[in-house]
Amino acid sequence: MNPLSKISELFSYHFMVNAYAAGTIVAVCAGAIGWFMVLRRQTFAGHTLAVIGFPGASAAVFLGLSVSTGYFVSCIGGAVIIGLLPRGTTGETRVAESAVIGTIQAFALAAGVLFVNLYQGFLNGVTSLLFGSFLGITNTQVVVLGAVCGLATVALAAIARPLLFASVDADVASARGVPVQSLSVAFLVLLGAAVAAASQITGSLLVFAVLVMPAAAAQRLTNNPRRSLVISIAIAVVITWLGLYAAYVSSYPVGFYLTSIGFVIYLLAIGSEYLRSHRPLRTSSIRAHR
């Protein structure tokens, strides 16, 4: 009954240690990359990449490869393709673009269903691919996650300043010689890596628990970009730790706890913003902090 003894019991299980290690790695990476995704208003693209991960993972299972490989290959591959698609600038082409993305999503999920159908006796696997599972994270998976997330975070740090500039004011940035187009492709690839990593904990459909919710809350709490980025990472880590703990002590799925805790934090952030009548992160404040 003592929560502290429960915690020490939890870490005596190897699978929980792996779950916490993988969860923390993923949370740090997703909290940071998600912050930029929310700032750039690319949540729809993030969701599409996550959905593309599902057929990747189920195809990997069908072919006898590791689930990790399936997620990383399909999400990063999808990111490269989406990044290289010609981008519309006018309203009319953007509308067509959203239909394209919707079509890609639906077809990706349908292809996932096909692989699941081809691989008989995989019915329970479907829900864990879609809604996450913290059981059965192997040592190799932790190492792979650590390597990929580490690389992605370092790469993000390297491009963070010009990316921030390009995200906030693309026109001025490109006039000053910032390579806006290649930055946006590079960012999508990083996003693909983060989504693939997050999918392995939260499942394809609930990646927003660590990608969007922490960032959306953090951007409501402060106008200072650096502080808000750090808060986003911290919230992502808190969500993951609490979610894993709750899933461990109860019988309900981890995805449910991750999204609920994230949503509560998001609502609290809206509430505190309302109380302080703070304005959300804006272009002007980022300019002021540059």
Binding site: V38, R41, T43, F44, H47, G91, E92, R94, V95, A96, S98, A99, V100, I101, G102, T103, Q105, A106, F107, L109, A110, A111, V113, L114, N117, L118, L123, V126, T127, L130, F131, L205, L206, F208, A209, V212, M213, A216, S251, Y252, P253, G255, F256, Y257, L258, T259, S260, G262, F263, Y266
Partner: protein, 297 residues
């Protein structure tokens, strides 16, 4: 396989195939028409969010021990109204939608686990999967009748509000200036989207809704900029996807019906893309739904 017509008459002799073709066909027509406006109004992401709500609504109903369809429609319509209220001028911020739908979907997994562990009214282990990916081959005859009526109601409603909705979607500022209830139209439209989403969940599953809502509409809008022609194309493409897809799955049972339907819809989309690319090379583009609409008025 040597005699396709023989195969088709065989297929039509099976009651569940008849149900699937009838209900699926009408659901497709309704989705095609509603989807046209969804794409035109740039609300595809809203449709996407609704598809997640459909899952949670259905499993919430199962967990509470009530009829799955009640939860499906109630969930979709409620969230559609909530999103309409949240948004200004009917277009909701995608970060807010993302937050809400992730939470709702997480709740759905809770209901799924609750339903699975508490054995409510003869637990069906595949309930979650069939809500997610559709169960069109499992429609009963009463369910088919109900679906047909709901789909017809949606189509009639769209026919009634079609003209003002088109105006409000293409040029909301002018429509508002002329005293049209732009906001109310947006709410009514989202309710219709909610109903359609609830229905289409049975056909292709909650997760694949966009395949019926966005894909045919997107293809139609590549083929023509004329609003009413595009709307009819969208409905016909959706219908063709469902019917051909069902036949394909009947001929090749290893293919799940949802996959076949989406594969056909996606192929049609790719075809329309190729046609529009070829056409714009031949005679240049420049016409848009807006300019065509303005020239028609």
């Amino acid at each position: 396989m040597t005699e396709p017509f023989h195969g088709i008459s065989h297929m039509l002799a099976i009651p569940f195939m008849d149900h699937a073709l009838l209900a699926g066909g009408l659901i497709a027509l309704a989705s095609g028409v509603v989807g046209y406006f969804l794409v035109l109004r740039n609300q595809v992401f809203t449709g996407d969010a609704l598809s997640h709500v459909a899952f949670t609504g259905a499993l919430g109903a199962l967990a509470l021990g009530v009829d799955l369809h009640l939860g499906l429609y109630l969930g979709c319509i409620t969230i559609a109204v909530v999103m309409a209220v949240l948004s200004r001028r009917g277009i909701t911020d995608d970060v807010t939608i993302g937050n809400i739908f992730s939470f709702v979907l997480g709740l759905g997994t809770f209901f799924l686990a609750y339903y699975a562990t508490h054995q409510i009214g003869g637990t069906d282990a595949t309930a979650g999967v069939s809500v997610l990916f559709g169960s069109i081959l499992g429609l009963s005859s009463s369910q088919t009748t109900f679906d047909v009526f709901v789909a017809l109601a949606v189509i009639i409603a769209i026919v009634i509000i079609g003209r003002p909705l088109l105006f409000a979607s293409i040029d909301s500022a002018v429509a508002e200036a002329r005293g049209m209830p732009v906001r109310a139209l947006g709410v009514v439209f989202l309710v219709l989207v909610g109903v359609t989403a609830g229905e289409a969940t049975q056909a292709v599953g909650a997760l694949l809704l966009l395949g019926l809502l966005a894909t045919p509409a997107g293809a139609a809008q590549r083929l023509t900029t004329h609003p009413y022609t595009a709307m009819s194309f969208s409905a016909v493409i959706a219908l063709a996807s469902v019917w051909i897809g069902l036949c394909l799955s009947y001929a090749q049972p290893v293919l799940p019906p949802s996959f076949s339907i989406l594969a056909i819809a996606t192929s049609i989309y790719l075809g329309s893309w190729a046609i529009s690319a070829w056409r714009s090379r031949v005679r240049g583009s420049g016409k848009t739904a807006r300019s065509t609409y303005t020239s028609l008025r």
